[in-house]
Symmetry: C2
Subunit: 344 residues, 2 copies
DNA sequence: AAAACGTTAGAAATCGCTTTCCCGTTGCGT
DNA sequence: ACGCAACGGGAAAGCGATTTCTAACGTTTT
């Protein structure tokens, strides 16, 4: 008959009794400590198997001061970008025996701060994707969250690697691409106003405008999802632009869908570009021209940086910058105006 | 100057010293126990704030015997279906103050068993999506995982709710829809061979075939992702079918993309249907006819069922069955053969 | 005024495990 | 045969919280 400890689950004490040894010895055996007599070790192992004993991770965590768990805070689990980061992170961490605790802040910046703190306390480290948090807030809480890895944000605090995608460069590459196709009137369908990565794109566009004074670049208000793009059709048409830089692939897809409903041809009438190169981008019709971000790899890298911090290894490359790669597909083509110029 | 406990973090002891009271009193105050003198309580709170004290969740979990965390095991985080379940679950659980620990089994059935056990021990309950596990394995481990909620699987063990989508009915509805459009040669582009939900679809198709002996239904090998659909073009064309039931939306999208590359028109030449109604389904070109599964809601329901179990409430509705809703869009149309029949 | 009672806060046990400390054994060398 | 080192394993002290038990205090009742 199986004894039961107070909580009703089988604990180290049950195994100790069954094997006729002390708790300490059971612990040693379970942790592969070779200072235990092989015969006793075997007896303990047999008892453990028979009782189906598995050490309680909570007790273990308390004693060891580590949880073998890392946390990740994301602003929106519905966003493919964060899903990909999560996937890469989870996969990489799992290979080292770590689990991932997720916290979805639902785009609420005040939640980001609280969730980050809570998640961190339960874990050995944290990956923070907090695009809405102000720089001041970030600067304030970041040190207390260490070991910490930031995604698309930077901080002055030491020992906090940042993995940032160069959205500014990416959007410049896309704009450049459209200009080469003959577009002279571009529009940027912006992301959420307070988004950090949106800010990076805007800066990139400023640089672009400075380098191409002859190109007209309009700024349109937007968001980060399908519906934003779909609803932006009117504003886009009204802008008179022939090349549209959407905040991301989702917005671009929504926009293309809306344009299609109006009977407009992409890229015949209007060229559309996205950003991120989510898996669906190459399956849209027309396939989406976008800037590819190795986002799953970024999640994986986040783990490697975090692991180095947890293990207190020297981190030779604290953080890194990812260059998006221009991915030209069918949604971008020669400008209509350019054509008529040729013919006229 | 801030005192530090052995681990370097601020603990209950530091607050106790600073406030000049015992650990016990600090604990009482932090937990809103009103048997503490208001003056002392205020002093403790002040000390806690000044030291930025936050209770260590691990110690708390050990004492309380609960972690306020639930686990979810998914076969593939890259699959939009599981992403949606995770999202619904996470969102619902968060509202009740619970966090979610994820475990990705990478479609490896042996991992499913191990991960489920590990995840469960760290959590107060588990949501299990384990389509590859055999019935025998499931039956064996399920009881030890309680509180447990199953997705798309059932077990004979008591107190284990199952949330299952009626894939059988859904696929019948889709087939029915194609037949009404005049299709007489259908093909089912199957999912992973050992997938539980694939099995349910096959059963549904058997029922369909029995009810429609005049309709030719071919079975084609497949998988569950884009590439599967894309690579299946040859097999699909060879089958001579004019109506294709893809395993899910991903496969359908891959297939449509492949057909498009061959210069075939959907639905002009071939009708294609998906399954799940993932967010992208209505943005494909043509928009995808599919069977809509309220999948995020399913994740939410999973939490409600699990919560009831954790709280040991009477669960009046142990598990439930979700009926997919036929979502007719542009990817399905009149059969070519039917047209020629009309004209001939 | 003494006894009985309720309230408040501290001491100590508890949760399940790891690990240090220490003592009893054994094996070896002299 | 004796002493010392090495070794194995048990007792106990944490880890950081909660919670029961208990002692002290102030108040009310007889």
């Amino acid at each position: 008959m199986v004894r039961r400890s107070a909580t009703g689950r089988i604990g180290i004490a049950d195994v100790a009794v069954k094997a006729g040894v002390s708790h300490a010895t059971v612990s040693r055996v379970m942790n592969g400590n070779f200072t235990v007599d092989p015969d006793i070790a075997a007896r303990v192992r047999a008892a453990a198997v028979e009782l189906k004993y598995q050490p309680n991770p909570v007790g273990r965590s308390l004693a060891l001061g580590k949880t073998d768990t890392i946390g990740i805070v994301v602003p929106d689990l519905a966003n493919p970008t964060f899903q990909a980061i999560l996937r890469g992170l989870s996969r990489a961490a799992a290979q080292d025996g770590y689990r991932v605790l997720i916290a979805d802040s639902f785009e609420v910046s005040s939640e980001e701060t609280i969730l980050a703190g809570e998640a961190r306390r339960r874990c050995d480290g944290l990956v923070l994707c907090a695009p809405r948090m102000t720089d001041a807030e970030l600067e304030e809480i970041a040190p207390s969250l260490r070991p910490l890895v930031l995604i698309n944000r930077t901080t002055a605090a030491a020992d906090i690697p940042s993995l940032v995608v160069d959205y500014g460069q990416g959007v410049q590459d896309l704009a450049e691409h459209l200009v080469e196709l003959g577009h002279t009137r571009l529009a940027f369908l912006a992301g959420p106003p307070r988004s950090a990565s949106n800010g990076m794109r805007l800066k990139g566009l400023e640089a672009f405008k400075a380098a191409h004074p002859q190109v007209d670049v309009r700024m349109l208000e937007g968001g980060s999802d399908f519906d934003t793009g779909h609803e932006a059709v009117d504003a886009v048409l009204q802008s008179g632009a022939t090349g549209i830089l959407a905040f991301n692939d989702l917005v671009a897809m929504g926009l293309m869908s809306g344009l299609h409903e109006r009977g407009l041809d992409v890229p015949g009438d209007i060229s559309v570009t996205g950003f991120d190169d989510i898996p669906f981008a190459k399956y849209t019709t027309p396939a989406l021209t976008t800037a590819a971000v190795p986002i799953t790899e970024l999640g994986e890298q986040a783990w490697h940086q975090l692991r180095a911090l947890i293990r207190k290894e020297d981190n030779d490359a604290p953080g890194s910058r990812y260059q998006p790669r221009l991915q030209v597909r069918a949604s971008s083509g020669p400008a209509k105006a350019a054509r008529s110029t040729v013919h006229g």
